[in-house]
Structures are given as structure tokens and as C-alpha cells.
Symmetry: none
Subunit: 193 residues, 4 copies
DNA sequence: AATGAATGAGCGTTCATTCAT
DNA sequence: CATGAATGAACGCTCATTCAT
């Protein structure tokens, strides 16, 4: 019974995250994903339209889930600065807890194939929106500078975290990113004040 | 005709930047590069070991040149803060002046293929070193915070610029990044103080 | 509901004629036939051994029916010439009344797969026999030439009608083949006299 | 030197005629054609756009050649009836001399794939035109009936020959079609008078 | 009988690289 | 050095058929 349909979809998705994370989308073979998921090649096409659809679905599901939970994390917090800290923590936690997913995100957000990349990055926007709303709120409450360019602040916020995770991923996940949370927070807050 | 060999190497390299920038390394066909460089397919193999070598060589030559010139730009400047500003300007200038190269750098630094990526990113280290040395100097001269984590500061510095260029590249180079230089500089300086 | 089984066999067969007629045997997908017949894919295999068997069965049933009715049409006619005319009329009537079946017959009688083709064409022989018997009768009754080669006459008879229907099918069933009946009859009769 | 480019094109084309003639277009594997032509799979794609293009090229080249030669055969003949006879002879000669090509023509002119078929049959029109012009000439010279429907006459002419060749091909090329030339000619001429 | 999810063999095509000229 | 025809391994996807329910 554990081979239920629901299960198979999850199994394929998780296998795909592993394989794509390690080889990159293009070098990931459908056959490898199928093998790891313990299904036949053809079975994948009962759950996904094609190989691209697997990658797009990963981003859709995982980023939606990410944004949903990120919102939950900050919903009861009053202080926008504290919200930013939680967003930093959450970003780093999710990535370090899911290294395979982290690899996929780091690599494929810069997918060379333009249409595929645009399908993928679409799902990033709502995350950007969350960050920007918190920054906006900070400005309104007088905690962040009134002259702060929200777009630039978000680029700095995301760019910094993204680069940290990127380095972490590409150096074999050696460091513990949690050690940096306080310092990152302090630097970003100063930048935004 | 006496510059034919030199010429051909350059022509192939520049053609490769264009083609790889527009299609990504994997989708770029050797034949396309050869055509654009106006040489035969086989000729490319007189100048490069293989397709990977072309990409690696682009990074080697272009990043070495970048670092050399970046150093020249700041060598006569005393104020570390001013040096940072010049580095920001220079980063943005080079990228916006060479959109094809910018695309290659943005996309291929996150090359999925692990060994290829590591060959590519090796060339990034000396750029990182330049940034870190300026930050270090700023700390020593009391302009930047004594407690500043240089590694994190460099990640923030590069991460922010990289994300800005990335967005610029992926949105069809619509904005003028030069408009942001002052604000970026202010934010980074505050973060580092 | 009591005619469900009978019904299903018929439904599958008719769906198959439609789908095969429009796509050709090879491109016709079992799934498409099942969908059009409103049964599950697997159900088809309760009524037919495999995909080939569907095609063979179409020819068996439809050609048997054709020959049976063709015989009925001419059984009470005395004049062999008149019989030929009725056969022409009937051939054209059946084809134009059942364009999907016509397409299947036109195309699949020249099925490239040798064994499948031979199974299919076996069912054609009794039609050929009907034609040849009428021609033979015409010779015996002195209406057709005593020197007429019956085999060749039948080839001409069938070949002409087959080519006409073929053109009709391949040109989107534009013309009205009934307009040609008298002329065809006159030409064939002159040829056979 | 016999492996010249010209040679390879011919070799592939002839191999394709053999393989497609025996298996049908769809079941013919590109690999089989390559093997028979003694080239690598990929080499085929230096001479043809794709598999379809091979079939279309066969028809284009062979039918053009056929029509050209058929015209040559009749150009110096005055009597339209005699021309018809030569056309019959030539049709049967070409087919019986090239059984593999004959198979391809017989089978693939009724290609189920609509667009492919239309590309193929386009090449048939100029043959039809030759036949129709001779029939027209026969009418004008008073040798054939003034009331003869040229379209129908051509359908009968081609349909008869096509059916004869079809039967010949599908029965393992047992008979000698040359034996029938005089009788066919007599019957067709009577039909057209 | 009916279902439809699962299977996996099979194939057209691409393209980096080679090498005879 | 330069050429470009030739090579052939590699892979995403399809679909007839099976079989547990």
C-alpha cells in the first residue's frame, strides 16, 4: 500500500531532486531518476508531462511550500527587524536541512535555457514579495531608512543569502551557515537603516 | 595574414562568448561557434583541447584580465571606502559593457557539472582576494568595523552585485545598473561600518 | 445493459475503423480507440487478441458482409453486363457511404507489414471471385469476348474502381463518384467485349 | 575513391529503397538503412534531413526520372495508341526491373500519414499528366472516342497497371507481367474508343 | 468482465570529436 | 595548419500489452 499513487509522485519528485541536484538538469537522465525512485522509465510520464515538467514542478511545489512556511514563521512577529532575522534563519535552515534541494535551487535558478529558466524563476517572485513587504513595513514603522530603495534592499538581502548558500553548496557543505546568522543580520540591518 | 593564428584564437573565443552567452554552455554547439568565428569545426581543436576547454579558457582569460584591471583601478586610491566604490563601479561597468560575457559569467559560474564548475570558479578566487584585501585594509585603517567578518562582508559585496547583474541579465538588460551605484555603495558601507 | 458485450465489441470495432481510417493502422493508438469506444484500454484485450487482430477483424467482418450483400444485389439479375453495373454501383455506394471504412480499406490493403497484409488480403479473394464469376458468365453467355482474360479483366475492374476510390479518399472526398458510374460501366464493358 | 560523396548518397538511397520496400517506411529502421549502405547512422543525416526526407527523395528522384524517360520513349511516336502501348510496356518494365522500388511505390503511395503521402503523391502528377496528354491527343486525332472522359480514362489506365503491379508485388513476383502487355493494351484501347 | 496504472523495449536524431586530405 | 565529412554513443519519450484489483 505504500506504493500508492501519491507515494509514487513523491518518490519520483524526491529522486529527481537528488539526481538533478548532483548532476544538473541536463545531465540528469530520466532513467536515473526512475531507477532511484524505483519505478519504470515510462511511469514517470504518468506523473509528469516530460523531463522539464519535473524540474518546473520541483520549483513550484518546493518554493510554494517555502513561501507558505516563511509567511507562517513571521506572521505573529511584530518587529520587522525581527521578521528579517527569522527570514534569514529560515532561509538558511531550509537550505542546510535539504542540501539536495539547495543544490537544485542554486544551480537551476540560473538555468541557461531561457524559457525553462523563466518558468522556474516565476516561483521566486512570491518569495521576493515577502521580503519586500517586510522591508516596506520596516520603512513605515521607522525602523528602516525612509530613503531605502526596497528593490535594492531585497537584492542585497537575497543576493547575500544566495551567495552564502551557493558557496556552501559548492564547497561541499563544509561550514555551518548557522554560525553566521547573527552577523549577517547585523550587517543587513545596518545597511537598511 | 600574419596575425591569422592570433586572430583565430581571439575569434573563436569571442564567438564562444556570444554563443555560450545566448544558449548556455551545453546548448552551444561547437559548429555554431566555428561558424560565427568563420573557421572549420576541426580548426577549433587546434586551439582548444575540447569544448570544455573553451569555457575554462574564457573564464581564465577574462577573469584574469578583470582582476588585473580592477587592481589598476584602485591602486592609486588611498581611501578603502573609495576603493570599494570603484570596485562596484568597475564590476557594473564591465558587465554592462559586455552583456554576452556577463551572461556567460552569471550562468556558468553555477555550472551544474561539478568538475567543470570547479575549474571555472578557481579563477574567481583572485577577485575575491582583491575584495577581501580592500575590506581588510578598511578595517585596519579604522574605516570599517573592527569586528567585521571579512569573509561575510565579501560574500555580501559579491552576492549583492552578482544578484543585481543576474537580475539585469535575466530581465533582458532593461534597467540601467549605473543608476544604483551610489545607493549600493551607501548600503554596503553602512553594513561594513 | 444486456447488450453490453455485443455492444462493446461493435463499439470497439467502429471506433477502430474511425481511428485507423484517420491515422492509419500504425499511428492509431489503442488508447484512442478505447477512448472513442468509451472502454478502458485493457477491455479491448477481452475482445481482441491484440492491435493487429482488430485490423484483421475489421477486414474479415466488413469484407464478408460486403461480399454477402454484393451477391444479394446481383442474385436476381440475369444479364451479366447488368450485374457488372450493379457491382460498380455497389462498390462506389459502400465506399462513399462509409468514408472511414473506405480509408481503412484503401490504405491498409497495402499494409507494409507482410504477414498482416496477407491476413488482410485473404478476405479480398471472395470479392475477386464474385467479379470473376460474373465475367465468366458474361463470356459464356456471349456478352463478353470469348478471348477475354478473366484474370486481367478482374484486375482492370477492381483496379479502376480502387484507383477511383483512392483518389476520392486522398482528395478529401471532394467529387461525387456516383457521377462516374455510367461512364465507368461503358468503358469497362467495351474493354471486355 | 568509390566512397565518394556522390556514391554515398546513392548508396543510402538504394539501401533505403531495399529496406523500405521490404519493411515499409515505418518499420524500416534508419540503422538498417545505414548498415546496408555501409555508413554510420549519423552519416545519413549529412545527406537527408530526416527519415521522411529519405522517402520523399526516393519518390522525387525516381518518379522524375521515370517521367523523363517515359516522355523520351514516346516522343518520336506519332500514333497515340502506340504511345499508350509504349507507356504500358515502360510502366511494367520499370516495375519488374526494379522490384524493390516497385514495392516502395506500391505501398507508400498509400502512406497513411497524410502529409507524408501528399508530399509523395505530388510527384505522381506529372506522370498522370503524361498519360492524360496522350489520351487527349488520341481524342484530337480521332483515334479515341470524342466523348471519352480523360480523367476517368487516366484513372482506368493507371489503376489497371497499378493493380497489376500490386498483385505482382504482393504475390512474390511470381507471374511475368510482360505476358499481359498485349491484352492489357487491347482492353484499354477498346475501353477508350 | 472491466479497469487503468505500470511496464520497458525500442528508435530517430544530435553533436563532440577525429582524421584523411 | 585548415578542412569538414564521417563517426557512433547516447537519451527522451511512446505505446502495446499486462495484471492486480
Amino acid at each position: 500500500m505504500e506504493n500508492s499513487k501519491e507515494n509514487k509522485f513523491e518518490r519520483i519528485l524526491n529522486a529527481a531532486i537528488k539526481v538533478i541536484g548532483n548532476k544538473g538538469f541536463h545531465s540528469a537522465k530520466v532513467k536515473d531518476i526512475a531507477e532511484l525512485a524505483d519505478v519504470a522509465d515510462g511511469t514517470i510520464y504518468n506523473y509528469f508531462q516530460n523531463k522539464e515538467d519535473i524540474l518546473v514542478t520541483i520549483f513550484k511545489i518546493k518554493l510554494e511550500e517555502y513561501v507558505l512556511n516563511a509567511k507562517r514563521e513571521i506572521i505573529n512577529i511584530k518587529d520587522p527587524a525581527e521578521k528579517l532575522k527569522v527570514l534569514i534563519k529560515y532561509h538558511i535552515k531550509i537550505m542546510t536541512d535539504n542540501p539536495d534541494l539547495a543544490k537544485v535551487l542554486q544551480i537551476e535558478l540560473r538555468q541557461p535555457h531561457i524559457e525553462l529558466r523563466s518558468k522556474i524563476r516565476k516561483n521566486l517572485r512570491s518569495y521576493f514579495k515577502v521580503i519586500e513587504e517586510v522591508i516596506e513595513e520596516g520603512k513605515e514603522k521607522g525602523i528602516l531608512s525612509k530613503n531605502l530603495n526596497v528593490y535594492l534592499a531585497r537584492e542585497m538581502f537575497f543576493g547575500t543569502l544566495d551567495e552564502l548558500v551557493s558557496t556552501w553548496v559548492f564547497t561541499g557543505m563544509a561550514r555551518d551557515l548557522n554560525d553566521y546568522i547573527d552577523e549577517i543580520y547585523d550587517m543587513l540591518l545596518k545597511a537598511f537603516k
